[in-house]
């Protein structure tokens, strides 16, 4: 039965569009899993997602349950990653922290990718002064330090997780606009766009239905690769006390609280850091692997 | 024939494939004196790899194995990398296909030629070397060599680039020149002049030449002897004048596919590979 499904998926002459799409997805997943780093990345991202969804089932303790009698305990069987200065179980907090990290990453991606896509597509499709103005603005944002800009924005609009997401999003869209514009320029003058224009399609329809879908694979690669940077900036904001506010178990904020104890109770600050590193690496590996699979031009390059 | 300049026996080149290594050159043997040897074959026949294997310049993952490979009495298979380097350029050199890719884009033409000289002639002064470079550019019939020496490769034409390449390869006065498709990237109008130039310089210096090409006409015009390679094997070896008496079906097929002056054939024949496949 499996082999029948497999044959159906790998059929070189698919009979329906669904079969073709599923077959392509199957081939891509297979290629991704054959690349060891990409497979590890996929595993890490999947684990992050599952941890976030099933946090209450995985965490042995309440993330905010204080137990002052057991404060600053080193890692042990009862507390795998030890406890913090309020006696809270660090492992449980790291598990719940996955929810915050995943939420930030998803929100930033959902805000920035479409904005970047639309700005880039409009810029590339219309050209002329529209292009000049939009790309001028993009370039201004591109040539500025992301973290500093995000810091300044959060300082102005006030700390908090929503504001952190907004600030990161404001600084993260320009590269997507650049990519989308470059992609659009390569097909703007192609025959098939001319064909759609001849059919009388509106500019909006051409951009949305015919141009944007062609940018998706390079966008997916770039967004995945950028995730690590977004996680680091979010953690940095949390570390400075400008991101998620206590008692939320955000990893950067947890490191910040552990800072006072770093010389004696190293685990308080160290453990959430490992979570950040593993998740960021996961996105890097996955992004690299996706690039190898979706963009053969870059094969073998980092 | 006196002692041959180069002897190659049972040369094999393999690349790793999905199902184990794939042999691309499958036991080529030949020898050569101070003469002009042509190696012909279609793309993928292994002729270029043969040229590079002689210089031991095949990069991994390519793997070379050879029964015997001797150059002027020296065993090339056991030579240290350092001794091999001293041999490259100075005694054996190679002109490659396309000067657009084979010249370093960010070094001036003069510097690139001078480098070949510096490596093998450490005694000379900078002034002498420069003089030598200019003379060599003049020898490959470049007008205004002083100006050209200061140009970057993207500033010279294809034909001129190939002359520069020839100057660079011949300036240390090697004994053997391997020319790997030296004219196929050039404009038809300059092909003959570049080939004539190679031919003249080879004769003047009494060197050996291995001319690797897919062009039967070119090879029979400029060579004394011809090897025909197919699928990694030497299938035919004959004097250039005796090509029309070739016996191997592959060679006959190639010959038949060459258009003739004043002919009346409505179609040129296509190679019928069943005649020798599996040999």
């Amino acid at each position: 039965m499996f082999s029948a499904t497999r044959d159906w998926l790998t059929d070189t002459a698919p009979r329906s569009r669904a079969q073709a799409n599923l077959g392509r997805a199957y081939a891509l997943t297979g290629a991704l899993l054959r690349n060891p780093l990409a497979a590890v990345g996929l595993l890490i991202v999947a684990t992050l997602t599952l941890t976030a969804i099933f946090a209450p089932l995985i965490a042995p303790h309440e993330p905010n349950a204080q137990d002052l009698a057991n404060r600053l305990m080193p890692p042990s069987g009862a507390h795998w990653m030890g406890t913090d200065e309020l006696g809270r179980d660090i492992f449980s907090r790291v598990v719940y922290g996955a929810r915050i990290t995943l939420m930030i990453v998803v929100l930033v991606a959902v805000i920035t990718a479409p904005v970047g896509l639309i700005v880039g597509a409009v810029s590339g499709y219309f050209g002329g002064w529209v292009d000049k103005v939009l790309m001028g603005i993009t370039d201004v944002f591109l040539s500025m330090p992301k973290l500093i800009l995000a810091l300044a924005f959060v300082a102005a609009i006030g700390p908090g997780i929503e504001n952190a997401v907004i600030a990161i999003a404001i600084t993260a869209w320009p590269p997507y606009a650049r990519i989308a514009r470059a992609e659009v320029l390569t097909f703007r003058n192609s025959e098939f766009i001319a064909a759609v224009q001849l059919q009388g399609a509106s500019a909006a329809r051409i951009v949305l239905r015919h141009v944007l879908p062609l940018c998706t694979s390079s966008m997916i690669i770039r967004v995945t690769l950028d995730m690590a940077g977004i996680i680091l900036i979010a953690a940095g904001l949390g570390f400075l006390g400008l991101g998620a506010q206590p008692p939320l178990p955000e990893w950067g904020a947890m490191i910040s609280r552990g800072r006072s104890f770093i010389l004696d109770q190293w685990w308080v600050a160290t453990m959430p850091g490992f979570a950040i590193i593993i998740v960021s690496l996961g996105f890097c590996f996955l992004g690299d692997g996706l690039r190898d699979v979706l963009d053969p031009k870059h094969e073998g390059r980092s | 024939m006196s002692m041959p300049l180069l002897e190659v026996e049972d040369l094999r080149v393999a690349f790793p494939g999905r199902d184990g290594p794939v042999e691309v050159v499958r036991g080529a043997s030949f020898s050569l004196g101070r003469e002009r040897l042509g190696i012909v074959g279609e793309s993928g026949s292994g002729k270029s790899l043969t040229g590079r294997s002689i210089l031991r310049l095949l990069r991994p993952p390519g793997k070379v194995s050879v029964g015997r490979m001797q150059f002027d009495g020296q065993d090339l298979t056991t030579l240290s990398e350092r001794r091999m380097r001293a041999l490259r350029g100075a005694r054996i050199s190679m002109v490659m296909q396309d000067p657009k890719f084979s010249l370093n884009p960010v070094m001036t033409v003069g510097d690139q030629i001078a480098e070949a000289l510096t490596l093998h002639d450490r005694g000379s002064t900078r002034r002498q070397r420069r003089q030598h470079v200019i003379e060599m550019l003049d020898k490959v019939r470049i007008n205004d060599p002083d100006r050209v020496a200061a140009l970057y490769p993207h500033e010279v034409s294809g034909g001129m680039g190939q002359r520069v390449m020839i100057a660079m390869m011949l300036i240390p006065e090697p004994d053997l020149l391997i020319a790997d498709e030296p004219t196929s990237a050039l404009d038809v109008s300059v092909q003959a002049s570049v080939m004539d130039l190679i031919d003249t310089l080879i004769r003047e210096n009494g060197m050996g030449l291995i001319l690797i090409s897919h062009d039967l006409g070119l090879v029979s015009r400029y060579c004394d002897r011809i090897l025909v390679m197919n699928a990694g094997k030497v299938v035919e070896e004959c004097a250039a004048g005796a090509l029309d008496q070739a016996v191997h079906p592959y060679t006959r097929g190639l010959l038949a596919a060459v258009p003739q002056m004043n002919e009346t054939r409505p179609f040129l024949p296509v190679l019928d590979r069943t005649a020798w496949e599996g040999t």
């Binding site: 001028g136 944002f141 330090p145 973290l147 940095g236 980092s302 | 210089l55 490659m96 370093n104 884009p105």
Partner: protein
């Protein structure tokens, strides 16, 4: 004879416009580059101005205090130009920034410009040592990884490069302190210099290592260096990661090139093939990468300086952030942003000047 003269003058005449147009093109390029830089800088000012407007803190209250009378409030409101249209306010803002007026810091009670003059050299010192480490190690690592593509050496260097994208700088700083200061006792405690040496050397450049050597105070020099090693190494690690990754990628494009075979045919040694023939064509992009990496270090120093109590720009910025000292925040943002723009644009210019092929 006369016709010869004619042709030569004609030749001279016809070559003159060619020369002029070459020069003109260069000049035009320089002018348009200047315009782009000016516009980008204006964009940066617009962003800081905008941030200054959206902040929920009332700038007038910040000056006059909570208990000021309505009259004082209104007077200051007008004096600060807040009653004027936004465009006018923006022009005034740009004008004062150009005159070097960035406002007063509410935390230090000094003009922001004075504060910046004091803290920038400390950051410059740290970032410069960091980039030296990053280039000295990252460049050879990138070249080696490309040369041994696919081998375990390549894999190790690639993972180190990726780690630079995945490890939070502040976390690495804390772990570094825990291990090398608290654990092994090799590194100095946080801070720029021991309290015993503070204020011993007169400030000339603000760069402590230079000031100490100018004054011949070598124990101060060594103490400062001892304090600098760990934070500089950590900054250097991030620069190394980025530089090695980019160099590897640039080098991989080169190593397959036919002209390297040409060099080998000539008898050039592998060392020279790699470092002269393959490296020379990527010199310009590598310099760009180093410039961008330096700009990145300024950014990274914000979090690193906080961890190491390093009295530089980053520490100044974070302190200002936490006390909502907006003039200081925007001043520091402006400085880092300006350095970013200058490095970004300078690398563009360098590309055009140095790249033989683009001419």
């Amino acid at each position: 004879m006369s016709s010869d003269l004619q042709t030569s003058t004609r030749a001279a005449r016809s070559s003159a416009p060619a020369l002029r147009s070459g020069l003109g093109a260069r000049l035009g390029e320089a002018v348009s580059m200047g315009v782009v830089i000016a516009l980008t800088f204006l964009g940066l000012l617009a962003i800081t101005f905008f941030i200054g407007r959206v902040m929920p803190i009332d700038p007038v209250v910040a000056v006059v205090g909570e208990r000021a009378s309505q009259e004082t409030y209104d007077a200051v409101y007008e004096a600060m130009g807040l009653d004027k249209p936004l465009v006018v306010q923006f022009v005034t803002y740009v004008g004062s920034v150009l005159q070097g007026d960035l406002g007063m810091s509410t935390t230090t009670g000094q003009p922001v410009v004075e504060d910046l003059k004091r803290v920038v050299p400390a950051t410059f010192e740290l970032a410069t040592i960091g980039i030296i480490i990053g280039v000295a190690l990252g460049l050879p690592m990138g070249v080696l990884a490309a040369y041994t593509q696919g081998s375990w050496i390549d894999q190790v260097i690639r993972v180190i490069g990726l780690a630079g994208y995945a490890v939070p700088a502040f976390w690495l700083g804390l772990v570094g302190l825990a291990v090398f200061y608290a654990g092994l006792g090799w590194a100095a405690p946080p801070g720029r210099i021991s309290i015993f040496y503070e204020g011993l050397v007169p400030t000339v450049t603000g760069v402590l290592l230079i000031d100490a050597s100018l004054d011949g105070q070598w124990d101060v020099f060594w103490n400062a260096l001892h304090h600098m090693v760990l934070p500089a190494l950590i900054l250097g690690f991030f620069s190394l990661a980025y530089i090695s990754r980019m160099t590897r990628s640039l080098m991989l494009d080169q190593l397959g090139q036919e002209y390297l075979t040409t060099a080998r045919v000539k008898g050039v040694s592998e060392w020279r093939v790699v470092w002269v023939h393959a490296f020379r064509p990527i010199r310009v992009p590598v310099i760009t990468v180093i410039g961008l990496s330096y700009a990145g270090l300024l950014e990274g120093s914000v979090l690193i300086e906080m961890v190491f109590s390093w009295p530089g720009l980053g520490n100044y910025l974070t302190t200002a952030l936490l006390s909502a000292d907006m003039a200081a925040v925007l001043g520091a943002t402006l400085v880092i942003g300006t350095v970013f723009i200058v490095i970004n644009k300078a690398s563009d210019v360098l590309y055009r000047i140095l790249d033989a092929r683009s001419r």
